[in-house]
């Protein structure tokens, strides 16, 4: 094995990495000098095509400080860069003493953890719990409202909180260095990549506030780093280091997905790499099936099970912390809410009777409360709208009344008729006194179903107001056979329209603006007994004639709540659709991002305010995008040349070139393209994770063509490096004010308007 090395071991001094790069992968094929040593080879790596790093001669323990430095000289640049990043990330971090931009959201969510009130948000909880933790450590008590633009009172330790969250931004810089190293980039390329990460103004700006983006970026970086580290351990599968980096990658996948769902995109990159890797191993005839199966199992455990457990654990903690009733209750199932402290559902009278005022909760995932309001449908029947609404409101209340023609309900009578399975009822909307009604008119969105509206009044109505109560089951008493009277909270039931035979259903179809983007309620002709969206339960129940219920202790199962919350998050996320008529100067389209078409004003633009403008370092962004486009061209040219039998690469070099290119290009594609098909409103900061891959591609290409080139002289490389680094540093210095905060009139800052579309100036 030793004979194969082109560089003698131990010569990997300062500029030895280029040599490492060409040395890593060596083609296996059959034959070669060590054809005979099949078993020896199998023990090492089953022909993974990868050899380990050059074996370092074991170094003696350092005896002096100078020797220590000398032995660890490779870690000096990242340390210096980290120190620099501490300066950039924390310099004047408290300059703006107001709530900037989305601090209004995330600061508030952090406060909810400190107050332990249940809230609802579209993002998973990890990032916000870390905000809460930062607040806790900083001594914040959670009693600030975080209204956008408000000045922080003296007792709010916002600077400490910002500094703690800036740690994630600082961490990006050394990660960038070591990732580039693991990708076997030359020393100059590592410097360039790290400089780009250190000096991008958008990454800098977004890391300086109480936001989730710095965490998302940090965990994206750790995931890529873990992946590259793992890749380099492949020559010794199942070694402790191999396990460590595989598990590390899995954990950071769990973390990145628990901050924002956008983390799934970087997960896709890991997934792609893993599938390709397993496919290649499948083709390795030296590898016994048993070992191959172990590879599968190891990846399933570390890359699927571990992240899912991590993600679920973050929700478990979320539920454990937030055990008080709060603004997000209505998103959850009635049973979950009954378990929150400060909620009065447990005081509901147990059995529902005629004359009870109830709210009805849809039991589909993310379901809301049956709702009506005075506005009418502009289409179809033009009668009063019926929707599903996620917040508590007077308009959610319905009175259970007997059908027309039966003995009318007498509010003064003492005895109560209880509701049971099969009863025909009329549901009267309490504020408008209209009855829940359905007829043969197509529903506005789900046009195959019948429309549900509110019609008539206390004395007027028709048979289309009649609904049959059909019990499905009871969460306490079990199957339908055991259910006598309808209980609040626990009895699941369906409402069948007596005349049409259709079922009251609220799926996740959103009404247009005229319906206030609430959820459509329709009457489904198909009788699908397993459809959750046709299940309803009584949530709050008021009937002065009945005794108040007892505080019952029953737990809502975690998995059910977990899944329920996730579907609700998904539904709300999809509902973040921009109004096409409303100009939103903050939003931007994915196509605007790679060429930095727009920036984003993060706060008010008054002369006396400190102004922050989210804008990338143009050299970094444009360079990254240009190199992504160039990479496609380069790949095409190389493939065409190969087809014409030109030999441009040393053995193994092509695989390495392709590997780095794939990580960078596919990473970018997975991070960027999904935004193109997403219906929801998008902002420029959604591009920030993708930017990391475009930076990697820039480093990779410039490394391939300049720094690792065998044709160019050392002097040329020096000059190219100087120009690139100079450009990055120069533009950073030019635009630094946008991230550090502009005091005084913006007009005083000259020459920032490099593109006409940037709204930096008024």
């Amino acid at each position: 094995m030793e004979a194969r090395r082109r560089a003698a071991p131990g010569t990997a001094t300062n500029d030895g990495w280029a040599a490492d790069g060409s040395e890593g992968p060596v083609p296996t094929g059959y034959g070669g000098d060590d054809e005979k040593d099949v078993y020896g080879k199998a023990r090492v790596g089953y022909g993974t095509g990868r050899l380990g790093p050059p074996r370092q001669r074991a170094q003696p323990p350092p005896e002096s400080f100078a020797e220590f430095i000398q032995q660890n000289v490779e870690h000096v640049p990242p340390i210096l860069y980290t120190l620099l990043s501490i300066w950039t990330r924390c310099y004047k971090i408290g300059l703006a003493n107001v709530v900037v931009w989305d601090e209004a959201h995330f600061g508030k969510f952090g406060s909810h953890y400190l107050k332990r009130e249940f809230y609802f948000d579209v993002h998973p909880p990890l990032g916000k719990m870390l905000v809460g933790l930062a607040g806790l450590l900083a001594g914040y008590d959670g009693h600030f409202e975080f209204k956008s633009g408000d000045i922080y009172p003296d007792n709010i330790p916002y600077v400490t909180m910002r500094v703690m969250l800036a740690m994630f931004g600082i961490g990006m810089v050394p990660l960038a260095w070591y990732t580039a190293r693991e990708l076997h980039m030359s020393r100059r390329a590592c410097h360039l990549v790290t400089l780009m990460v250190l000096l991008d103004v958008a990454w800098l700006c977004i890391s300086r506030f109480i936001l989730l983006d710095s965490m998302l970026l940090f965990f994206t970086f750790t995931t890529v780093f873990g992946l590259t580290k793992f890749h380099n351990q492949q020559y010794q599968s199942f070694s402790p280091e191999w396990w460590f980096w595989l598990a590390g990658t899995g954990l950071s996948i769990g973390a990145v997905c628990s901050v924002k769902w956008v983390g799934l995109f970087v997960t896709a990159l890991v997934g792609f790499y893993t599938i390709e890797d397993l496919w290649n191993k499948f083709g390795d005839l030296h590898m016994p099936i048993r070992v191959y199966a172990r590879h599968w199992v190891a990846r399933i455990i570390c890359l699927i099970v571990v992240p899912i457990l991590f993600y679920m654990a973050s929700f478990k903690i979320h539920f454990l912390i937030l055990n008080h009733s709060g603004p997000g209750d209505a998103q959850m199932s009635s049973l979950f809410q009954a378990n929150l402290e400060g909620n009065d559902f447990a005081l509901n009278p147990l059995e529902v009777g005629y004359g009870s005022k109830v709210t009805l909760k849809n039991m589909g995932w993310g379901g809301g409360l049956l709702h009506s309001h005075v506005q009418t449908f502009p289409v179809g029947s033009n009668q009063q709208q019926v929707t599903c609404y996620h917040y508590k409101d007077e308009n959610n209340q319905w009175t259970v009344l007997p059908a027309w023609g039966e003995t009318p309900y007498d509010p003064n009578a003492d005895d109560v008729d209880f509701l049971k399975d099969g009863d025909v009822v009329r549901l009267q909307h309490v504020p408008t006194k209209r009855n829940l009604h359905s007829h043969v008119v197509p529903a506005p969105v789900t046009s195959l179903n019948h429309e549900v509206s509110c019609y008539g009044n206390e004395t007027m109505g028709d048979v289309n107001d009649h609904w049959i109560v059909q019990v499905v089951d009871d969460l306490h008493r079990g199957k339908k056979e055991h259910v006598g009277r309808i209980h609040s909270l626990t009895t699941r039931m369906r409402f069948r329209h007596k005349v049409l035979g259709c079922y009251l259903r609220a799926a996740n179809a959103i009404l247009p603006q005229w319906g206030f983007k609430q959820v459509e309620v329709s009457c489904d002709k198909e009788d699908n007994p397993n459809d959750d969206h046709t299940y309803w339960n009584v949530e709050s129940h008021i009937n002065p004639k009945l005794p108040i219920g007892e505080m019952k202790q029953y737990r809502s199962p975690f998995l059910r709540d977990f899944w329920h919350l996730n579907v609700a998050m998904m539904t709300s996320n999809n509902a973040l659709v921009p109004d096409p008529d409303k100009e939103d100067i903050l939003a931007s389209k994915p196509l605007d991002w790679p060429w930095l078409h727009y920036g984003l004003r993060m706060c008010g633009w008054g002369d006396s305010q400190v102004k922050y403008y989210l804008l990338g370092n143009p050299v970094v962004w444009w360079g990254g995008t240009a190199s992504l486009i160039a990479s496609v061209g380069v790949l095409a040219v190389y493939l065409l040349r190969m087809q014409r039998r030109y030999n441009d690469f040393e053995p193994g070099e092509w695989e390495q070139f392709l590997y780095v290119g794939k990580i960078a290009f596919l990473g970018w594609v997975f991070q960027y393209l999904p935004f193109m098909i997403m219906g929801r409103v998008t902002y420029i900061h959604h591009y920030l994770p993708a930017l990391w891959f475009s930076v990697l591609m820039a480093g990779h290409l410039i490394d391939h063509f300049v720094f690792s080139s065998k044709r160019l002289s050392e002097r040329t490389k020096q000059i190219v490096f100087g120009i690139c680094a100079g450009a990055v540093i120069g533009t950073f210095w030019w635009f630094r004010g946008l991230a550090f905060g502009v005091e005084g009139p913006i007009g005083d800052q000259k020459g920032l308007l490099w593109r006409k579309t940037w709204n930096i100036y008024d």
């Binding site: 496919w279 499948f282 083709g283 506005q375 005229w514 008529d581 100009e583 065409l640 014409r644 039998r645």
Partner: protein, 747 residues
């Protein structure tokens, strides 16, 4: 360890050569060489000059006289099933509503807009004109009895095209080097496929589409064979040009034809890629190959496609139902929509009409009806037609009434003006009241307000903001010029912009388009332009302007965009629509026509349909299995038999996939008949699989199997034929034919 060694073929030495370079040793298993196949030496000898060039048949199609007779028999049978009782039913069926109507429009030369390109509709029109149709039937509803319409001739065109697919199937399979038995089987299956029959017996576009799809495939196969024999011969150019033309035709029938282009495109790329790897081909020759294909397969289809639209525009010269979809410039080219020249300079006191730029909603309009809600003041809407109620007079808001002044005060940016509605004496007004439909906080209502003698209030004021002018008219950026200046109107008190969007008012607003004042207005929907303009003080010889007449290219591109938008907007559910996943399994058909207890219901021949799907799945499974085997070191792909089978089936599978999978990305409403081009390929693939599977059998046995399959197919066809012909059926047979619960024809 001994496992994998055993799998390696014994012959190649275990040297360090990669797989690809291993030359496969000739094996005894391969059949003896056919007589007309040459080995390398012979071919080399052939290439040297002076050697008599060996004749090869046109496109590689060599048919024996026996099979020609059989083919004629199949065609006659197919003609019978397609033309049988073509005049029944004698009323409008399904989409004949549309495509018959379009023929009437062509004859009447009235402009219309449809989501499909014109070729197939032009052909139908041609036939109907030749048969003496005068265009006076309105094709209003399904079931309307035809009167004075040569509908049989019009139906005959799709029927004949559907018929032509049968021999094309045969020839394509023969061109792909299949045996006559296979090709015969394929053509019989196509001939007796119920849905293809049903679809081709009516005035619909799918039959021409499938015809041109199969023609393109056929031509491509012919070209490939020529290319293998010898490039750049006359025959080679002939087939290449024909491929290009038929690709142009297929995409000129329906945009689905793009999938056929994708198929040919991918195959071309593969051809070129292999050519590039052929070191005997010098770069210059490669460039020649590349350019020839680019010319014939890209330029030619595009030219053909555009030519169809040129014909379309030449025929449709008069205004018609489709005007509303098009821009004002476009409408101006239609007779009956033209506009007289109008004065260019807009000044205080001008009488103007304002048109909304971004939607085709029309002109700022008011009429003596009030909003039922909100402020209950007079309605302001957008109205698409010319009308006196669109006329407004521009007044200066800040000065006293300047009636005496004779000099013109031009409208410049920043000027505050009012708009008086002439016929009702109201002013354009806005206030902090929510509009009737778009009841959101950033929208304000716009109304007509005022009465005789009322001076007006500040809510009547509007500030002119010029957005863009015309490049050729520099003045138009500095002041308001008719038709040339796009401007916005800002309401100074509330800061909102006069705005309109594609939202219709209900009946009380006569379904005209809503006009609002939007505080966060998106720019395109808040742009306005002055369309007509007159001023009492302007001399009659003052400068006049009119719309610039767009050239063909501008009209063509605009129509493409309108077609695209209309197509994307077809998202409503239809009772018989379906999603792509259900198609290969024939879950449900389409009800075409019901009358007098008879029904036409589009349903495939289940036997052929499901077998085709099975063939697709089988090929995918086997191919996947082979890939997995290859990864484990098995060298199946060095076996010429496998390679040949894979090339045949792979091509057809690709055709199927490209005509099917893209539908998953489409949001619009989809129907079973969108699967028919893919079905055609699945039938070809079925024949291909038959060819491969029966390869080792004796010809006689193979023929018997093919015969059995054909008989089952024909029996199934006969069983379901009443649904295709709309002929009478007994109730019990109908009920029994409901093999799948979701086939909803028997109710």
């Amino acid at each position: 360890m001994s496992d994998f060694r055993a799998r390696r073929p014994a012959s190649p030495p275990s040297s360090a050569q990669p797989y690809g370079k291993l030359s496969s040793a000739p094996s005894q298993r391969f059949p003896p060489r056919p007589k007309d196949r040459l080995d390398a030496d012979e071919r080399k000898a052939l290439a040297t000059s002076g050697y008599p060039r060996q004749h090869h048949p046109l496109g590689g199609f060599k048919l024996s006289s026996g099979e020609v007779k059989l083919l004629i028999l199949v065609v006659v049978l197919a003609a019978f099933v397609r033309l049988y009782k073509l005049s029944e039913p004698n009323s409008v069926v399904f989409d004949e509503v549309h495509f018959g109507k379009f023929a009437s429009k062509y004859i009447k030369t009235r402009y219309y807009v449809d989501v499909h390109p014109p070729l197939a509709k032009l052909l139908i029109t041609l036939v109907s004109v030749i048969s003496g149709y005068d265009g006076n039937f309105d094709f209003k509803d399904i079931g309307k009895i035809y009167a004075d319409v040569p509908y049989v001739m019009m139906r005959a065109l799709p029927a004949v095209m559907g018929l032509a697919v049968v021999p094309l199937t045969y020839l394509t399979l023969r061109g792909l080097d299949c045996r006559a038995t296979t090709a015969l089987l394929g053509s019989v299956l196509v001939a007796f496929e119920n849905s293809l029959i049903t679809q081709s017996r009516l005035i619909l576009l799918d039959s021409p589409l499938i015809f041109f799809t199969s023609l393109s495939t056929f031509c491509w196969v012919g070209f490939s064979n020529e290319d293998k024999a010898e490039p750049f011969t006359e025959q080679w150019w002939f087939w290449l040009t024909l491929t290009g033309l038929s690709l142009g035709a297929v995409v000129s029938c329906k945009w689905v034809g793009l999938f056929t282009i994708a198929l040919v495109g991918l195959c071309t790329i593969r051809q070129l890629w292999l050519l590039l790897g052929d070191m005997r081909v010098p770069p210059r020759l490669f460039v020649k190959h590349f350019c020839a294909r680019a010319l014939c397969l890209i330029v030619l289809p595009i030219t053909f496609y555009m030519a169809m639209f040129e014909i379309h525009f030449l025929i449709l010269q008069n205004s018609g139902e489709g005007d509303g979809f098009m821009s004002s410039e476009f409408q101006h080219t239609l007779q009956g929509r033209g506009m007289a020249d109008t004065f260019a300079d807009v000044a205080i006191g001008s009488e103007v009409t304002l048109r909304h730029v971004n939607t085709q909603g029309g002109y700022l309009h008011s009429h003596p009806h009030n909003y039922p809600g909100g402020s209950q003041q007079q309605q302001i809407t957008l109205y698409p037609h010319r009308d006196d109620n669109n006329n407004w007079i521009i007044r200066n808001a800040l000065e006293e009434k300047n009636t005496s002044s004779t000099d013109l005060v031009y409208l410049t940016p920043g000027m505050t003006v009012r708009f008086d509605h002439i016929s009702t004496n109201k002013r354009l007004h806005s206030h902090d009241v929510r509009p009737p439909i778009s009841e959101v906080d950033f929208q304000n209502e716009v109304s007509g307000y005022g009465f005789e003698g009322f001076e007006g209030d500040a809510n009547d004021n509007w500030i002119v903001e010029i957005e863009s002018g015309d490049r050729k008219d520099p003045e138009s950026k500095k002041r308001l010029r008719t038709l040339r200046t796009y401007f916005r109107l800002r309401h100074p008190l509330t800061g909102c912009y006069l705005f309109s969007h594609k939202v219709k008012l209900p009946e009380w607003g006569f379904e005209q388009q809503e006009v609002t004042c939007n505080k966060n207005a998106v720019k395109p929907n808040s742009l306005w332009v002055i369309e007509t303009n007159s001023h009492p003080n302007l001399p009659p010889d003052a400068e006049k302007v009119n719309y610039r007449i767009p050239g063909f290219l501008a009209k063509f591109l605009e129509l493409q965009r309108v077609m695209w938008d209309t197509n994307a907007g077809l998202t409503d559910r239809h009772v018989y629509d379906s999603r792509p996943l259900s198609w290969p399994f024939l879950k449900r058909g389409i009800n075409f026509w019901v009358k007098d207890h008879r029904q036409i219901y589009l349903l495939g021949n289940p036997f052929i349909w499901w077998s085709g799907t099975a063939a697709v799945l089988a090929y995918a499974a086997v191919r996947g299995f082979l890939v997995i085997r290859a990864q484990r070191g098995y060298k199946d792909f060095l076996n010429t038999g496998v390679v040949k089978a894979d090339q045949l089936c792979g091509f057809l599978f690709l055709g199927w996939a490209l005509h099917y999978l893209p539908f998953f990305l489409m949001e619009r409403q989809l129907f079973l008949h969108h699967y028919l081009p893919a079905l055609y390929f699945s039938i070809l693939l079925l024949a291909g699989v038959f060819e491969v599977v029966t390869g080792a059998l004796r010809p006689r046995v193979r023929l018997q199997i093919a015969g059995a399959i054909a008989v089952v197919a024909i029996l199934t066809f006969a069983y379901f034929s009443p649904l295709a012909y709309g002929s009478s059926w007994t109730r019990s047979k109908c009920m029994r034919a409901q093999w799948v619960k979701s086939w909803d024809f028997s109710w």
